[in-house]
Every structure is written in structure tokens, then in C-alpha cells.
Symmetry: C2
Subunit: 331 residues, 2 copies
């Protein structure tokens, strides 16, 4: 295992220290926790937004803490759900009395632990609502999931629910818009090389020198099929095709596109893929309103990518364009 780390069992604490050192004017660590919150949390009269999950998906989720985005992100151990008490600390820290909204990626551990935290908070009189993101169309049920997995589409939930909360939306309004994003966002990914969890010390799976896995999850969960590596164009056709099939888009629909790198895929390759994704959409008469290319939801140093499409309407467009000031999302 070759990594730029100190103690493999301290990577999350060390990372959080370095993150707060980088952005001391915009974020803070809640003392004694692995929670990163907005420096000004709780924000008066605003619904607080909390997300998080296992570490190793950076910039998710701490990179999306900021004005117009999340109020706090809870970091678990690498690829491991944060515990209920950590999520509870986040909820308490961001509640201004307007309630707290949880954005949970659909993994069994995350759902369970965030729900337990919600119960703890409700017992203290904090109003809590949640959404579970399940944008990955690759497979129903998986290693750590019942139903579909939550992957890069989660970032659009952060952005749009964050904008609704920032403009003063109530807890119910935030929930309604978050559910609208979840209903309209789909993703699919693929990988060409694995990653190594620091504390494990060796890759969690192997792919032969000429293989790729289509539909692989962001923790290396099995996908749909292993095949010889295809061209960027063929990969774009397969990923975009599966997403389009599920999303049932029509000619003249407007969408946002995210081409997300899993960690070690050069930006050059993401742009090459994006070119073909746009060709496919243009052929179908689907209009791209906005495109995001980069690393939003990674898997440590895994090589691969995902394609996310979000169907838009005027309300979603306005919220997508609203000001956002996270270290990994600035608009």
C-alpha cells in the first residue's frame, strides 16, 4: 500500500485537521467529533442540513458544507457509516429551532445510524426530516444496500435542498424539494482499477489489466458485468443509455449532467467521456442546462467514473443556480 498518510488508523482525524486548517474562516470541527460544520452554524431561522457517510469519498461530504449547501457533514471511518452519536452531535449543532434535514445515501448502515440519530434528536425536541438518495441505476440490492445505492447524484440533493433552506424554505419545503431531486436524478458508474482502504492495506477487489466493471459501486460493490475495457465512447453509451432508460426523458427535456471521477481518472478522460455524453443527449434532442465535470464523489484512488443526469424544471434550475460557497462547489 502506497499512500501519503501517517497512521492508517488515524486518517480521518488527520484529514479533518488538515481540512479545517485549510478553510478556517468557513468551517469548524465540532470538538471531540468527526463533524465538520459551517463556521456560523447554527444559522438563525434556517433549516439545518446534515449529510455524511463513510470517509474516502472526498470531497463528499465536507467539501459541500457552506452557504447554500450543507450545514454539517459527518465523517465515518473509511467506507464505514458514522455512528448515531456523531450524527446526533451534528444535528444539535445545526438546529436553530427551524428543524434539521438529513440527506442519507442509501446504504443499510447509513440509513440505520442516521435514523437512530434522528430519534435521539426528536427525543430532545428537535424536528428532523430526511431523504434517502438512491440514484444508482446499476443494481437493485448490493453488498451494503437494500434497493439502489446512493452515489454522485447526492451532490445535486445537497445543492438544491441547500438552496431551498438558504432562501428560507421550511423543513417541509426542504423535504419536498429534496424528494423531487431524488425522483429526477439517476447515475451509473464503472471502474477500471480498485482502491485500498488504509486500515486494510490491500485492494478490496482486483481487475485484470484489460478489464473494467460496469455498474460498480463507490465502495467496490459488484456491478452488472466485467468486460474487456471499452473505449470512452462505448462507456459513455453504456452509462448514459442505462440512465436515460430509467429516467424516461423526452425530446426537449432539460437536464443537468455530472461526469464524476472516482479518484485517479485524469480530468482529460472525464472531458473525453463528457464529449460523447453530450453527443448522445444532442441526438435525442435533450437540452443540457448545466454540466459538472470533476471529482465530486470519489472512492479513494479508484479509477473510473460515473454519469449522473438530473431532469430539471424552472424551480430546480433556479435552485441549482443559487449561490453556493462550499470548498468543492462554488457558484
Amino acid at each position: 500500500m502506497k499512500k501519503i498518510i501517517n497512521d492508517p488508523n488515524q486518517v480521518v482525524q488527520d484529514m479533518i485537521k488538515g481540512l479545517v486548517a485549510a478553510y478556517p474562516n468557513s468551517v469548524k470541527q465540532l470538538q471531540g467529533t468527526t463533524v465538520i460544520a459551517r463556521k456560523d452554524a447554527p444559522v438563525a431561522n434556517k433549516v439545518g442540513l446534515v449529510s455524511g457517510g463513510g470517509s474516502g469519498h472526498e470531497p463528499a461530504h465536507a467539501g459541500f458544507v457552506g452557504k447554500g449547501l450543507l450545514d454539517a457533514a459527518v465523517a465515518g471511518e473509511v467506507f464505514t457509516s458514522p455512528t448515531p452519536d456523531q450524527v446526533f452531535e451534528a444535528i444539535k449543532a445545526v438546529d436553530s429551532g427551524s428543524g434539521v434535514f438529513l440527506i442519507i445515501k442509501n446504504y443499510t448502515g447509513d440509513v440505520l445510524n442516521f435514523e437512530m440519530a434522528a430519534e435521539l434528536a426528536e427525543a430532545e425536541g428537535i424536528k428532523v426530516e430526511k431523504v434517502v438518495v438512491n440514484d444508482d441505476v446499476a443494481v437493485e440490492d448490493s453488498s451494503f444496500t437494500t434497493g439502489r445505492r446512493g452515489i454522485a447524484g447526492t451532490i445535486f440533493v445537497h445543492k438544491i435542498a441547500g438552496a431551498m433552506a438558504e432562501k428560507g424554505g421550511s423543513l417541509d419545503e426542504v423535504k419536498v424539494i429534496a424528494e423531487k431531486v431524488v425522483a429526477n436524478v439517476r447515475s451509473m458508474g464503472m471502474a477500471i482499477s480498485p482502491c485500498t482502504v488504509p486500515a486494510a492495506g490491500k485492494p478490496s477487489f482486483e481487475l485484470a489489466a484489460d478489464e473494467m466493471e460496469v455498474g460498480m459501486g463507490i465502495h467496490g460493490e459488484p456491478g452488472i458485468e466485467r468486460t474487456k475495457i471499452a473505449s470512452a465512447d462505448e462507456i459513455a453509451v453504456e452509462l448514459t443509455g442505462k440512465v436515460l432508460e430509467d429516467l424516461e426523458l423526452k425530446r426537449n427535456d432539460e437536464i443537468a449532467v455530472m461526469v464524476n471521477g472516482l479518484g485517479s481518472t485524469p480530468e482529460m478522460e472525464l472531458f473525453i467521456l463528457n464529449g460523447k455524453v453530450h453527443d448522445i443527449l444532442a441526438e435525442k434532442g435533450i437540452n443540457v442546462y448545466k454540466t459538472f465535470v470533476g471529482e465530486y464523489m470519489t472512492s479513494l484512488e479508484m479509477a473510473g467514473c460515473s454519469v449522473t443526469l438530473l431532469k430539471l424544471d424552472d424551480e430546480l434550475k433556479e435552485l441549482l443556480d443559487a449561490e453556493a460557497l462550499g470548498s468543492a462547489f462554488h457558484s
Copy 2:
């Protein structure tokens, strides 16, 4: 070679197509060239800024084209200088009559070709000035360089010279501020794994499973030494120490810090490194004004990082903070 590409000999054209497809409202490709320019270029009464170099360093340089940054970026083949005629096209496209300023990383081919382009432009009556960036303190002279190499510190030149041009600075004023950045910025990098140029098909060098190379260049040029891989803290001490030694900072000096990933180093590791860099600076009483952690100047999928320090004064701080709207730099 495992890459998400189509034809290895078409990666630059395919990348540019995907880049323009992603950001059609802010950038344009100059037809028949590998130049990416601001959509609104030439901007009236503004000095035009042009940079570029071999591809494979994305987001450098096209990600830094935009308001308050570059007016155009010229993309050469992977790790290969763009030709003079391509640079000449960029110069013509961004000249509004106020002159054009070239930001060149110090590699022999880049310097030669940008200078030839400047001569072609001057022959057509366009005023051209330039700066050569040589921030890498690792080695004097290298595979492709006489003197020190230009690496991630170049991004600070884009940002600050870009801000000066945007606020109406003359060609001379842009040159003076760019030279001031070059005089005050130093970097050093290291690598733990190589990268593969698509058209070559195999890695340009090899490192053993437990080795790192300190001072390695962004094209895999030799550094200072190969050793057993060290901890993040030790790497931070070595890189920051060398940069500090060269920059001769004093207690209470103010600086900007950039911890840059070379391509496949997870953001988690960059933040771990950043934590120690900040500790080292705090011990010396050096004040960090702003920190940048992420991928700014990469080497395809090379694993490794660089540390850049920029000594600031009030003028540089104001220009560093000014509005910038590039796809890879937003402030």
C-alpha cells in the same frame, strides 16, 4: 495501459471537445486550433493573457480561462509544447489593442515556441510581453529545462496577473505584477507512482512498491532522491522545508499555500499533508492568509503532490482575492 479514451492520438482534440461541451457559455475553441479562449475574447481595453503548454496537466491551463484569469490557454500534445503557430493564434484572438501577456512554464520547448509566437505577433504590430515561471526549487536544470522548472506556482501567476489585467492594468503593470509573483513563489513536489502518456502506452518511469521520488517533475523528470516512502508528516517536512529555505520567510510574513495533487492522490491524503504543512508554518510564526488544496497542476494519473508557498503583501492579497471565474478556479 488502462484509460478511458478513444484513439490515443486524438486525446487532446477529444478533451477539448468535451471541455467546450461542458462550459459553452464561458469558453470557446478557436476553430481549427487547440486554443481554448474566453467566450467574450478579445475583451475591449484589457491586456490579453495567454498561457498553455503540453496537455496532461489538467485543469492547467484551460481550467484557468475566464474572467479575472487567462484569456486563452493553448494545449499542446500530451507533455509536449504547443507549436508557435498555435500560440500565435491565441495571441491574435485575445488582443484588443492593449497588448498580450504570455505566462510560460520554464521548459525549453515552451519558452522557445512561445517566444517565436511573440515574434510573429510583434511582426503584425501586436505588443507582447512575457514571464517565465520557475517555481520548482527541487533541481537546477532538468530533462527538458535549463534552470528551474515551472510547476504549480504558475496558477498563482494566472490568478494575480489575471486580476491585474481585469482591473485595467497596462501591459507593463501586468508584467511587473507577474514578475513579482514569480519572485515570491516556490514549490516542490514528490511522486509515488508514475503516469502513462496515452500515445506511449507504458509508464515513463518506474518506482518500486515501497519507493517515492522527492523533487520529481510534472513530466516524471528526475528529482533529488529516491527513498523508501515516508509518512505524510515527513514528506511535509521535506517539501515545506526546502521551499522555506529558498523563500527566506521571516516570522509574521504572510503567505498563500497550495497543496496540489498530481492526479491520483486522494483528497484525503492532500488534507493530511496540509495539516502538517500548517503546523510547520505555525511553528515558524508564518501566517497563512489563504490555502488551496486540490488538483491544479496534474501529471495525468501520477500519484504524488507538491507544496507551493507564495509570499504576500497587501497588493498581492487584494489581487489574489479578486473575482475569478475559471472552471477550475472560482473566487
